[in-house]
Symmetry: C2
Subunit: 169 residues, 2 copies
Amino acid sequence: MSTSSRFAVAVHVLTLMARADEEPLKSEQVAESVNTNAVVIRRMLCELADSNLVVSQTGSTGGSKLARLPERITLLDIYQAVESRGVFSLHRHPPNPDCPVGVNIGSVLNDVLDEVDSAVEGVLANMTLKDVVSRLKPCVSTANRKTVTPAANGKRKNLSRVQSVSARN
Amino acid sequence: MSTSSRFAVAVHVLTLMARADEEPLKSEQVAESVNTNAVVIRRMLCELADSNLVVSQTGSTGGSKLARLPERITLLDIYQAVESRGVFSLHRHPPNPDCPVGVNIGSVLNDVLDEVDSAVEGVLANMTLKDVVSRLKPCVSTANRKTVTPAANGKRKNLSRVQSVSARN
DNA sequence: TGCAACTGTAACTATATTTGTTACAGACGA
DNA sequence: TCGTCTGTAACAAATATAGTTACAGTTGCA
């Protein structure tokens, strides 16, 4: 399916800000936690700002912070801000219009794919950024230790979500 | 999100076979309806055969047909046969393990993404290939006309699913 | 038996999309 | 005015999907 990691990264970024409270974070700081380039983060922050999820300020004391309380930001808001297309795509090239199946399979599939999208959105609408922060909590307080709590290395139900155990470098 | 069209194509292919009844279809015929290369179809047929959704036969009178009745093949079966990964991915490179958020955001996200996957699977499990064929029916009988019934040009709720109106060549 | 018509598959190439990088203009506080 | 930010353009790298060519092996049939 080749999904992007944009949603995962966006949630990560906003989670950092939720925990930073009102303190604006610099793209460089965020990039360090996400483990990517600061420009990638800034690009994403622009999209999040377009959707009114964060506010950024330029200048020497600049940075970005949440535009509203974490409990008022759902994962659906985040998803819609950074993932434009739906879950599936139709054919890359349109099917043969001279074939009775080809000519209207797209219509049938669209209905199905809309249902799928709605289901996804339903799940995402039910969780807020605050919920994410809470679920994260268990490992905090004993700041910056290197050891990971065993439960923190959860595995997906299904397979390869990339990154899982050991990454590629 | 950059989803693939594999699911759409697979449903298309199996729909053709459902309508062909027991008559085996040649990859060339299928490719013509899907509007792609026969090898692309044969590759997909191999995957579908691995999942026991179709049976193929080599030789001069060969071809492929459904391995069981259309009412016994769900869209979930098809999805699982051709789309390996879940709907979303985690970070391409693992986040910074020295950051309290980075170290276990993956675990929280995994839970969410599992929920999303389950929701998608739930929707797909509720429709069979037979249902798809039925929904297709309205336009048949008056074979091979070029005009499309107005209702057949349905649009997605959201935007660009590719292919929509005019394609790219 | 030999041919023609298939499938299965390997090995590429082409195309698209996402991610990462470098560079720099402009904003802004001190 | 200077240093430190953001915003953004332009491009390179990485990845994944789709399309193409080529060919070995299978099978029905004359």
